[in-house]
Symmetry: D2
Subunit: 440 residues, 4 copies
């Protein structure tokens, strides 16, 4: 039985213990023999804390897995089988800028949508493209499992602008929504087939089959019967979607659609919040790393849950295990469209159900996205294509064109001013835009 080398890039993330826990739980089926932790100078200290915690966790589990830590990415990539990227270029401070600058313009400030998400893409994409190309040269058979947001754009960038095709974009959104549906129906996950259509953070449940029976409308009725959003991501909002809207469309939107369908409400929530989500997370993380440093801690602490990222580890290990075992399980991941959604370009990256094989994820045909989801997803994929181009090539015109047409930009003049402010604020993370920024 071939053993597995797992490389974790951005290992200084507070999420890493969750991933380690997943490795431990899956070890019987997925014989990981080496975990290589990688981070950059800025994350060195945190990585070291994680490194030691990882050793304690593995010791407690009685598993003899090599653990290494390094700042030398290329060295770590040698003989890799799976590479998980969970890096955050610029750290939480960059995220806080993503949230606060847009807010100052009266726009949504969020790390994966609108101006914030766009600048996260600009910072992240060139780094992930570099990693993808290095993998192509050093460990060409390894799979890149990318968790860094915005996941559809990052994956699309790798597929369009790197030499590497072995990339999967992963988000814990679909698996959480599936679990929430199961809870609503009081059903086993194994008896459910939940069809997703769309892109990352821009997707919809379009069909729910339980033991072969279509129960979509029943689930919508259950959602509408509740007083709080029962299919929500904690980091977005508990505000419910309008009940008539769900009943009229027979679609269940991802929580992130609230930024588009409840913009007024989200702006009000944002205005009311004393701290941005990034600031909250920063505090949580500080506490977490204090906890992680405690040498008596030998497992993932409860407190990690407050950080968000539920089922993050499950999602990651499900994909890795499926590829390793060629188990043909169906999972919802970000891949090249290739006809999975017939009304989107074949080279767009979409978040759809795939059968997972040793040859990677193979998307399952879903036909067109039903209206009215069809229109907004088509629009957002056009927007994403432009931002991906801007991020990968430093194209300022694509950046302006893309953002102003994003429905979250409610004013062209404010939008252009915001883009310039954001460019200046992110200067050190945007080498491709250095000349542009110099002339602003």
């Amino acid at each position: 039985m071939k053993t597995v080398k797992l490389v974790v890039i951005g290992a200084g993330s507070s999420y890493t213990p969750e991933l380690i826990e997943g490795v431990i739980k899956n070890h019987a089926q997925l014989p990981v023999s080496h975990i290589a932790l990688v981070d950059v100078e800025m994350g060195k200290e945190k990585m070291n804390i994680i490194f030691q915690l990882t050793q304690r966790m593995l010791a407690k589990a009685g598993l003899a897995i090599d653990v290494t830590q390094t700042l030398e990415r290329k060295t770590a990539l040698q003989d890799a089988d799976f590479v998980v990227t969970q890096l955050r270029v610029g750290g939480i401070d960059a995220r806080i800028v993503d949230e606060k600058l847009p807010k100052s313009y009266g726009f949504i400030g969020q790390e994966t949508n609108g101006a914030g998400g766009m600048f996260k893409a600009l910072r992240t994409i060139p780094v992930i493209i570099d990693i993808a190309n290095e993998m192509h040269d050093i460990c060409p058979n390894a799979w890149l499992i990318n968790f860094t947001n915005p996941a559809s754009m990052v994956t699309e960038a790798v597929l369009k602008y790197s030499r590497n095709r072995r990339v999967i974009g992963l988000c814990n959104g679909p698996i959480n929504m599936t679990h929430q549906v199961a809870a609503l129906l009081n059903a086993s996950i194994d008896d459910l087939y939940v069809e997703f259509q769309g892109a990352n953070h821009m997707n919809f449940i379009t069909k729910i089959l339980h033991k072969g029976e279509d129960r979509t409308r029943e689930v919508i009725a259950l959602i509408n019967a509740a007083d709080v959003d029962t299919l929500s991501f904690k980091n977005v909002s508990n505000e419910q979607f309008n009940k008539e809207l769900l009943a009229a469309t027979h679609l269940i939107p991802s929580s992130y659609l609230k930024y588009y369908l409840k913009t007024t409400e989200m702006l009000a929530e944002q205005a009311a919040a004393e701290l941005s989500r990034g600031e909250v997370v920063k505090n949580i993380e500080a506490a977490l790393f204090k906890k992680y440093s405690d040498v008596s801690l030998e497992e993932k602490p409860k407190e990690l849950e407050a950080r968000g990222g539920a089922l993050y580890s499950t999602a990651a290990l499900n994909v890795i295990r499926a590829i390793y075992l060629d188990d043909k399980s169906i999972q919802t991941v970000n891949v090249r469209n290739d006809g999975a959604i017939t009304n989107l370009p074949t080279d767009a990256v979409v978040e759809v159900n795939c059968v997972l094989t040793r040859n990677g994820p193979m998307p399952i045909c879903t036909g067109e996205i039903p209206s009215p989801a069809k229109g907004i997803v088509a629009m957002m994929k056009d927007y994403e294509a432009q931002i991906v181009k801007a991020a990968a090539t430093g194209d300022y015109q694509a950046l302006i064109a893309g953002f102003i047409f994003n429905p979250l930009c409610s004013s062209d003049n404010a939008g252009v001013a915001l883009v310039k402010d954001m460019l200046r604020a992110n200067k050190k993370y945007l080498p491709l835009f250095a000349n542009t920024i110099a002339t602003l």
Copy 2:
């Protein structure tokens, strides 16, 4: 030389004298022998004023054209060659509701976009479908030239839900933009080819050729060099599009795109305006009809220009004359897509350049719409398909689904509440929604 019978439905419109002037000017090439004015009870008085003015105008021009007025539409349709619809279901008062109710929710209130445009579609489409079906039975070779907004949706409704295929949706937007481009370049219209892509009030100039040379970027530079919007429709706003946006996209959006790209600015203008556009128009119209009633008036009065609708008559007569003469001129009209824009459904109605023949308008292939226009147009056509369905069939779910996903609806809850208010306010013009309204 075959003579032409022209039927004008909604003849009590203040625009009719402009149309009559067009008939007079084109008479040498287009031998109109009968103008049949048609209106409903509500417009009877205005129609009579128009009827008498028309007789005076024709007398002054020395043309022996029969003019009739009637409330019996089917009688008027006998032997018709061209039928121009310029009716307004509910009159100006309905328009004022379209503008003021959405405004009360903090939304754009406008007669062709957002909630207002949607309800104009709901009121108008069943009436135009009836006319189209009557024409199919009574004068099957006649062409329906529809001016009533929202023109793309109305035309799409006729093509999808009536038995009649001989319909053309017409707007004076493209011809005005073309004239404005000609003025900027100090060029003759005959030397220009201006490519439009999109749908009515949702379109873009994507290419400007002057004597075969591409001068698109030069025109954009000229637009940006000015201090006011030089390619504007007076009834929208004089606010300029952001100059960097135009420079980045190489696209010239229709003024109506301001509602989407400058929502904040348009909401501010709307808030600042004492009277809605409908209220302004109502005053203008009162003055106009007073003028029209003056028996010494024998031609279109200067004051009509303040009403808007520049080149309305030119646009209408260009199309009618082209079909009559089979003159192969290229004009921008609303027709079934059929591949003209490759990334839109074949059965969507688009506003594109067509060659005009005795067999009607034939769309010219333009390929894909360039990004970032691609995304918003795809989105809006998906929205329009739903509203067309709602209007033609009374489908409340399609109405809710469509409107909430319209980018001008910034809150699902407010949107649903507004739709219900609008339904109630338009009750007498929405027979297909009678049951729905009864249960609200």
Copy 3:
């Protein structure tokens, strides 16, 4: 554990013992509790022989499975879980006509291609549509597994012209080609992923992955290194495809492509054959049924192999078991395209890899078919759409239009004459064409 009722329509087929053997072998995983044999008057006697043999086989296997036989199809369909259709309208004698009449015109005479296949479609489709509709009413959750050729056309007819969507077209071609590839590579089937694109009897292996590695070109080299066709169906021909052709295209065509790519050679083989394949089969069947009648026979006799249909039972049981167990195995079946092959209509039936679930087969996206397969498959699917229409509606014009453009029809005049002869010869099986035939 829910038990399974299996209905076999056309149970008097000589293949049935193979299916029974499959049921026996799979019983641990697939608890069949009732096998309902159904046939028509013409097959009554054969069905009875099969019925008794089935009982002996099950007794020998020690399985307490109910076996029934009936001519009352609707009765048999009560509570069905899976319905396998392997009927042959008109029996072997109709097949012999399919082979001999075209041959008399110098055309290919074959039961699934050209004029023969077309008339098999005309005879079969109305019957299968009736079965599909009865299932929809009587056992709406049951799956129709259709083995009757031409499988793509029959499946497309059910999907386009019946009320039933739960249909899968099945052919033993892909499973045999996959086994042959495994043999060439000396590999385990489980380590292979063989991608098929196209339609039934008009498909191509476009990719062969072995343990994740692309070995397509190696397999082609192995095929070309042999002196006989190593990827052949016995019932077609042993003639090899031209070796340069395989090397140039990197595609492995199904043996049935020989009718199109080696027409001259196939016509020569046909001319040289004393007996048509149908006549050979008739003799084999007579001997088989004699054997089946032997009360000492308690298992599938060796002689059945000469009949063709290798792995027929495996293919059928793989599909049934996968749906029953929701096992997510990947199998190559005939389904609605829905984007699986992006250059074919979404409503065409294609033979592609699907993941098999309790919700039926879900096609895996494959993108475009590579040229030069792209052209011929597009052509044949257009042809099939017309024949399906002709078969389901009795449209003579679609029949003529379709056949004359089929590349196996080398003369329009001869083609029309042949169609008329075939119509007359099949008169009693073509009620929808009764009026047409009366006027020939």
Copy 4:
């Protein structure tokens, strides 16, 4: 009024006097001031005869047009406005090989279809690509009007593999079919709209409108009422299409479809012919040039008609005049598809109706090609894409792949052998295949 320089490449063609006659007839509207005749060494003598005849023709017409002759193509291209290519690489002798070698294999031997047409493409395409690139550099605003067959493939090659986009492929087929339809209906060409769909020599009349009325079926009835093919090209065959076929499809195929729909009949005609068409033409041409040399000849001789090419000059001048005058006439030419036929790739070259403007031909949307034409055209365009690739890049695999799947290749083995023989026979005209030929 700007004067026009016309360059004729392949000026030694016997067709040139027809073109000159067209220039003379159109001079009032199209002020040609310079005709530059160009040919290669091999055609020098013939060009000189044409040069002198041209001077006599212009003198007789009283037109002061400069006429020059040269072997220096680049010199001639200076200041060109229109460049007509009517060259024949390898001359009539190469054509005779195109006809006779395939015939020796039992295949259709024809200069634009099957193996012959394919090798004509291989010889021609690199030369036309060179011309297109030279034009791009020397006279970038000039239009290339290509008459050299196979016209769709040559045009597609220029659009895909040269830097020049200003190319129009022209064939006299559509204009002749249109005239023949007019004759059948006893109608004026000006009152007709004849819709063509397909590619060059692979197209269909799909609709005939006369004064706005659809008379397609009436024309088909008139064709079927005759005893000979009334819509034929003399150089193909007088054999009629099967009458039931035309009635069933409501399509009128180009005569060249006989090679596909009446292969047997065409092979029989070919077998019966003592001389190939190329040999006949060679004799006609010898006689023609003798005639042309007669210094008393001052106009196009009657005998040229036997050469074929009816309306060649009309077709060419119609296009040139339309572009010069921006006259918006509708003509059927070979252009990039771009959605004109929705079921074909956007980058395929199709022969469709275009509106002719100073900006070149703009294709008119026609939707899908109706079945059964849909299938064969899709197939042939896939074939053509491969041959274009082979011709432009020397790709032997594309050549083999393309030809074997062409329906005119009835045996893969014979097809491969024929391709090799043809390569050897055309060695000196196929520099891109030099290495391939060396290893055959």
